[in-house]
């Protein structure tokens, strides 16, 4: 795998790029649907998990999600740097650091998602809008994340795919954070360790 600081724009034939794009989108959609189906059909355990030193599982989740959003903001800045939107031409290390920060952001979301899926399940009551949207955004986030990872790995995608996918992943993560951590801090108080 060649490592570059500046993203490579796909120059594959349009048809091949579209097929690859469609394939990645289908895989991402499958991930999102699979998570939603599991969360809906699985009997929620309704139990707490480890707390990593926080006073409760919910507190831990609120803070891990916050850390993920902060890392995602760093990643957004690094991406803008790579695409020449800010600052001078980026050093070669920006690309690897961007990938490292993104991977770490993804890692810290895993315990949060695990507790949501295993212990709480999918909120299907649209009337309970916060939890409904949180459930929906959570599933779509991992689907879009999958699509983005596949986009990074493929050089046949249209050049606009990666920034669009990255922006959507960031927007979805912020949406998840607003409907969970922000709500929690607003209700339980900040910092609520």
């Amino acid at each position: 795998m060649t490592e570059t600081a500046v993203p490579v724009t796909g120059d594959a034939p349009v048809g091949a790029g579209r097929v690859t794009l469609l394939g990645a989108a289908l895989v991402g959609a499958a991930v999102a649907v699979a998570l939603g189906v599991y969360a809906d059909k699985h009997d929620p355990a309704g139990q707490a998990l480890f707390t990593l030193g926080f006073s409760g599982t919910i507190n831990m989740k609120a803070w891990l999600a916050t850390i993920a959003v902060v890392l995602a903001c760093v990643q957004l800045v690094l991406a803008a740097w790579m695409y020449g939107k800010i600052g001078s031409s980026p050093p070669a290390a920006v690309g690897p650091v961007h990938r490292l920060v993104g991977t770490l952001a993804f890692l810290v979301t895993l315990p949060v998602a695990y507790h949501c899926l295993w212990s709480l399940g999918f909120e299907t009551d649209v009337g309970d809008s916060r939890r409904f949207w949180h459930s929906l955004l959570g599933c779509v986030f991992y689907g879009m994340f999958t699509f983005k990872v596949l986009s990074v790995r493929s050089r046949r995608m249209p050049g606009w795919t990666l920034p669009i996918a990255g922006g959507l992943v960031f927007a979805l993560l912020v949406g998840i954070w607003v409907t969970s951590s922000l709500w929690f801090f607003d209700n339980a108080g900040f910092p609520s360790f």
Partner: protein, 117 residues
């Protein structure tokens, strides 16, 4: 630069491994059996709340995934029977407890949440 790329690759492989572990755990991790409920006494409601309700509503009833309960139940459910019905039947993502708790145990947790939270 090569060292940085190696670190990134190692972290990415670790993330892949951890993701696989989490997916596996979703299917094989059996919920722990909740602590047994005392046969009778004033602590029945508290015991039920701490083992069946607190993971969503927080141990002090301040809310979490589920809504806050402390100091709002009298307003939300003027009739305690309505609160008991929600516990028994569930609502939204809240599971029903009619199969795992007796009517007396549901009444005990209703009393606890309305008086001691």
């Amino acid at each position: 630069m090569i060292a940085l790329n190696s670190v990134v690759r190692a972290v990415q492989y670790a993330a892949l491994f951890v993701t696989a572990a989490f997916v596996l755990l979703l299917f094989v991790n059996e919920p722990a059996q909740p602590a047994p409920i005392p046969a009778a006494g004033a602590d029945v409601g508290e015991a039920i709340y701490s083992t069946r309700c607190a993971s969503c509503h927080a141990s002090d009833g301040s809310g979490g995934f589920g809504p806050a309960l402390a100091d709002v139940l009298d307003e939300r459910f003027p009739d305690p029977a309505d609160q008991a019905a929600v516990i028994a039947g569930g609502r939204g993502s809240m599971p029903s407890f009619d199969a795992s708790l007796t009517p007396e145990e549901i009444d005990a947790v209703v009393v606890y949440t309305r008086t001691d939270l």
